[in-house]
């Protein structure tokens, strides 16, 4: 955790830099979602005086706005009383806000992280600061620490910094055994099956799968790009946008081809959550063949499984919704 504390310091300064950049260039096309909508709530447009579209740090979510006065008031009070008080052990001036407020912030952050994860959205540190921590930036470290503690103790989840470079966090399971959850719940199954179908096609090909090839495969499931499906809805939108947004797939233009064609690749999330052995098992089930019917792929899957076992046993195994069924 101490290592993370140091990372957090770097994060805070990096986040400040990137946030000020975000002000200067509103609505960058590469952003996961515009900063304005992050802070906007249904109550927002009516109750807040400043417009939600300027993305300014001065318009925090409604919960935080009522506390804006408190840290300032506290600071004033401590400044007046500084002469008479002995300096507190860990904090340099100004004095920290009441523990209850830090605790509340930790609870807000916990919920924020849980919801982001539920929707499979990126947990981005600058967003955490902007949307939740707000004016309590200075106490970010202790808030983060408390949130991690609660998540671990109550949910059995680790809030881990997965990339200092991109400032991304993710929630990973901290429970033993690290097995995949048997998602026997019907409403998740269809999505997983669809995704696995595409991922396994890409895997078997050994390179990107052209969109036309993917649709040939999906035709087996009775899915067509122009037809709305009762469970999936707009299938094309689902696989080219939603799965891509969740980082399960990559959808890229094939270079130097006219008229334009697109192909699918495994996304970073798929690489993290889904093992090659799972793909082989899926293929075996679907085609009613032995996994060894794809010998080179099977060998690759074995290699990967061995590498995973030999890797540090305390290394995290990300949560996955992929079914064993």
């Amino acid at each position: 955790m101490s290592e993370q504390s140091k990372d957090v310091c770097d994060l805070i300064s990096a986040a400040e830099a990137s946030n000020s950049e975000a002000h200067r260039s509103p609505g960058g096309p590469g952003e996961p979602s515009p900063s304005a909508s992050q802070a906007a709530t249904l109550a927002g447009p009516e109750s807040r005086p400043s417009g939600p579209t300027d993305g300014s740090l001065a318009s925090p979510p409604p919960q935080a706005s009522s506390e804006e006065g408190d840290p300032k008031a506290l600071q004033q009070a401590t400044e007046e009383g500084r002469a008479h008080q002995a300096p507190t052990a860990a904090q340099p001036a100004p004095a920290p806000p009441a523990p209850a407020q830090l605790v509340q912030k930790a609870h807000e952050l916990m919920w924020y992280v849980l919801v982001k994860d539920q929707k499979r959205m990126i947990i981005w540190f600058p967003d955490m600061v902007k949307d939740v921590i707000g004016s309590y930036k200075k106490w970010c470290r202790s808030i983060l620490r408390r949130t991690s503690l609660i998540l671990a103790r109550v949910f059995g989840l680790h809030l881990r910094l997965t990339s200092l470079h991109t400032m991304e966090f993710s929630l990973v399971k901290a429970l033993e055994p690290e097995e995949l959850d048997r998602v026997a719940l019907s409403n998740r199954m269809p999505m997983t099956g669809l995704l696995l179908m595409i991922l396994s096609l890409i895997y078997v090909k050994g390179r990107g799968a052209r969109e036309s090839a993917v649709w040939n495969v999906l035709r087996i499931l009775g899915l067509r790009p122009w037809k709305k499906h009762s469970t999936f809805g707009d299938v094309r939108k689902l696989i080219t946008e939603e799965f891509v947004r969740q980082n399960y797939l990559k959808y890229q233009r094939v270079p130097h081809v006219e008229p334009p064609e697109y192909e699918f690749f495994w996304g970073s999330r798929a690489s993290r959550e889904i093992t090659k052995m799972q793909i082989m098992e899926f293929l075996a089930r679907v085609f009613k063949k032995d996994p060894q019917a794809w010998p080179s792929r099977y060998r690759e899957a074995l290699e990967e499984a061995r590498a995973l076992r030999e890797a540090d046993p305390t290394a995290y195994c990300p949560r996955s919704s992929v079914s064993e069924d």
Binding site: Q118, I150, G156, L175
Partner: protein, 283 residues
Amino acid sequence: MEEGRAERRRRTEAPSHTQGGTRRTGVMTDVHRRFLQLLMTHGVLEEWDVRRLQKHCYRVHDRTAAVEELEDFINNINSVLESLYIEIKKGATEDDGRPVYALVNLATTSVSKMASDFAENELDLFRKALELIIDSETGFASSTNILNLVDQLKGKKMRKKEAEQVLQKFVQNKWLIEKEGEFTLHSRAILEMEQYIRETYPDAVKICNICHSLLIQGQSCETCGIRMHLPCVAKYFQSNSEPRCPHCNDYWPHEIPEIFDPEKEREASTSKANRKSLRSRQH
């Protein structure tokens, strides 16, 4: 809430162990933790799914233990969640009384869960639909009426065609239900937003006379105007051959629905197992 520094460090290093001497009233084990994780992942679940989930968690972490009664199991977890201002809330679908569960945040009054999913104009469209639904007599707002408000939306201009798709997105994300071109709130939305709705629309909001919760769909007394949820009506007038309004005692003019029976439901669904058609289940 003040903890010694050394104590905190110890807990940080071994977070997965159940802490002895916990200050909380309930005890969290890995069974409960996995349950919470999965409940959060799925957003909202029907009771039979929740029971299966509970059994799964026991199977994974504590095969030998007896599966605790669901209500006690959830109350136990809720006692731990209390200090975090979240809880596992139980509700029911308004049309047929199926029990549903969701993990909800009690502290927030804004619809923060939806906010990061949708753009500003989409959120505003939802708000307009929500207002129409709350103001309506039936709890349903027609597609036409919602779409007619498209010009009044904040943010980027939205065409009616686009708005139709956004409404479908709400349906897929379980915020709205569509029935014959009309929209009402999904039980998930009611569970998660009840507090927000009651605080934002205190005058327009309707309350059930029996359970005192938010009411969107229901039956009303034509004499005195009190309202009841359909499942509440079913339970209240259960074996009553002459149903009368609990408030003004006038004859209750509506058909009394059946009480939701999970056993009957399961029989019905297994007989339909071979049929491919998707039942449009109202949640």
